[in-house]
């Protein structure tokens, strides 16, 4: 399988007051298309930072990140935003659904940036809600859903635009065991049935077991 994500010699440091705090040191990583990769490591090891860099919501201090043939480190903010809207699906630990929108409207949100008609958007939203098993709850607001259901809606939102990669930051971190299993099964299914490349950050060894590959980060270095 060709690599869909190529991370080369990437370093990242955050500046806090007058101090530079190194987070990633010369990281290189290649992720083939259709991969389900789990990034593990202790808190502060740089897992989320690496995920954010791959997803184009943060920039490296050094090195290149190529996703789907695009060197995203070279894109300006507006191009990067556009790139994210079509190439990356995000799943967050705390779902990050908009509480004033229904499940349907939350999933429709990224589709508003496309040229799809209202009818087509409706079809897309219903299709992905069917995939996550929540079509019957599409008119419910987040507060009317359980944590597991909210995360499924978030996954539906992430895949609504059919992105190149799916990034998930501790997707089961806020869920009970049963809900976490549902989410992991869903991610596994997206990877197997829909051939989605998934990069997942997790602390949970049971979650990591679902991945094809597990990479460990420690003190900013990939093991």
């Amino acid at each position: 399988m060709p690599s869909i994500i190529q991370v080369q010699d990437v370093s990242k440091a955050y500046r806090r007051d007058s101090f530079d705090i190194p987070v990633l040191n010369n990281i290189s990583l290649e992720i083939p298309e259709g991969e389900f990769l789990a990034l593990m490591g202790p808190s502060g090891s740089g897992k989320t930072t690496l995920l954010n860099l791959i997803a184009g919501i943060d920039r490296p201090n050094k090195g290149t990140i190529v996703v789907g043939g695009t060197n995203i480190a070279s894109l300006n903010e507006s191009h990067l935003a556009k790139w994210r809207s079509t190439h990356v699906g995000f799943v967050f630990q705390f779902y990050n659904l908009l509480p004033v929108l229904t499940a349907f409207e939350n999933v429709e949100l990224p589709l508003l940036l496309t040229s799809l008609s209202k009818k087509d958007r409706k079809q897309h939203v219903e299709a992905v809600l069917t995939v996550v098993g929540l079509k019957d709850r599409m008119n419910h607001y987040p507060k009317q859903l359980s944590g597991g259901q909210e995360q499924r809606v978030a996954i539906a939102r992430a895949i609504a635009t059919d992105p190149t990669i799916l990034v998930a930051d501790e997707p089961t971190g806020d869920l009970d065991k049963s809900s976490a299993d549902e989410i992991l099964t869903l991610l596994e299914r997206l990877n197997k049935e829909f051939k989605k490349t998934i990069v997942m950050v997790t602390h949970d060894p049971r979650a990591a077991e679902k991945a094809h590959t597990i990479r460990h980060l420690d003190k900013g270095e990939l093991k």
Binding site: N52, A55, I57, D58, S78, A81, K82, W83, R84, S85, T86, F90, F92, N96, L98, P99, V100, L101, F104, E105, E108, L109, P110, L112, L113, R157
Partner: protein
């Protein structure tokens, strides 16, 4: 689902907070409207003044009279069409709190100089014939339930004694800028009694009103009038009606300035109320804005969301304020003695100013939250705990 819908939903997310903010803006707009209306009422006399009318008064002070004999001399000046004259009578009607203008005038010329006071011809005829008759404004007739034939007893103060006037006419103001709260009676009636009781005050005129044919010659005619009486025992000062009215306002300019300043302070208060709400809302939604950016929404979208919400709240607040201003002004007018502000209307320009101010404040109040939302990095926003 469109961004506009999201703007509406965000505006109503914290219903109580939005309601209180809208109410706060509404009350501020209402206070602004009332203050501007008072300021406008203060200037109503100036606005109602005519360009073709000059006022000739005693040069030392308005309170000193002029001789009646000046009338014919003024009338001879080229460019002068009509000369009429008045005396401030005042007196007490019912009690001292019932304030409205009560003045002696020349019935033959007054209504030719002031065509904005409209009197039905039959009533005018009777008024001119009966020396102890008077004309009252529509608003005064309504307030005191005065009808044709009623007697108005007035206790004189400037002109002591008990005076009785029979209402023979009720004038209608030509439009809403004309004072409908005056009472006018025959100068001759006043003068005759002065001849009998206080001869030294007989033949005194408070001021002359000179109607001229060409307003562009007002300065020249004014100079000519004043030159006529130079070095006399009662020198005159002639000026346009507008300048005359402005000299009254000048005496109270500090109050008017204070009210003007207050009305704009209120705009500042609106901005603080709304700004505070928007800053709180933007702070609470820092993570949501980061999610929007993550999903690929641009800065323009965030600007639309935040400014739209602020604009919407200010729109409802401004609308509510304007709606509340109408009854407040009516109530204020009802409780106020009629003569204090003869013309007390909510002017369209006040409504426009209040509305535009509220909406502008809506935009300005969103600037800081917008700057904050745009300036926050996605990764920092996602970490934010609101």
């Amino acid at each position: 689902m469109k961004i506009l819908k999201l703007v509406f939903k965000n505006a109503l997310r914290h219903k109580l907070r939005s309601f209180l903010t809208i109410l706060g803006i509404g009350i501020a707009v209402m206070a602004f409207g009332l203050l501007r209306t008072v300021v406008t009422a203060w200037y109503a006399g100036i606005e109602a003044s005519a360009a073709n009318r000059l006022i000739t008064r005693q040069a030392v002070s308005f309170i000193f009279p002029l001789p009646y004999a000046y009338r014919d001399q003024i009338a001879k000046i080229p460019g002068v069409e009509i000369v009429t004259y008045m005396n401030w009578f005042q007196g007490v009607y019912i009690d001292k709190n019932q304030f409205f203008a009560r003045m002696a005038c020349d019935p033959e010329t007054f209504f030719n100089v002031y065509p904005e006071f409209i009197v039905p011809p039959d009533q005018m005829e009777t008024f001119k014939k009966e020396r102890n008759s008077c004309v009252v404004g529509r608003d005064i007739a309504k307030q005191y339930n005065l009808k044709i034939g009623d007697v108005m007893p007035i206790e004189g103060d400037i002109y002591p004694g008990r005076w009785e006037f029979v209402v023979r006419a009720i004038y209608q103001p030509r439009d809403k800028t004309v004072d409908g709260t005056q009472m006018l009676f025959h100068w001759e009636y006043l003068n005759e009694r002065m001849k009998q009781e206080m001869p030294i005050r007989a033949g005194d005129v408070g001021w002359y009103i000179v109607k001229i044919s060409d307003p562009s010659k007002s300065a020249q005619i004014s100079e000519q009038i004043d030159a006529l009486f130079k070095n006399s025992r009662a020198e005159t000062k002639t000026e346009t009606e507008r300048a005359f009215q402005q000299s009254f306002i000048a005496a109270t300019s500090a109050i008017v300035t204070a009210m003007n300043v207050m009305s704009f302070v209120i705009i500042g208060i609106i901005m603080l109320v709304l700004g505070n709400t928007m800053i709180m809302a933007a702070r609470e939604r820092t993570r949501e804005y980061a999610v929007f950016k993550t999903l690929g929404f641009s800065g323009g979208h965030l600007v639309g969301l935040i400014a739209g919400e602020s604009f919407l709240i200010s729109f409802f607040g401004g609308g509510l304020g304007l709606l509340m201003t109408f009854p407040l002004i009516n109530m204020f007018e009802a409780f106020m003695p009629k003569g204090w502000f003869p013309i007390f209307n909510l002017e369209p320009i006040t409504m426009i100013l209040a509305g535009v101010s509220a909406l502008s404040v809506g935009i300005v109040a969103s600037l800081f939250p917008i700057q904050r939302a745009l300036g926050t990095k996605i990764v920092d926003g996602l970490r934010h705990i609101g």
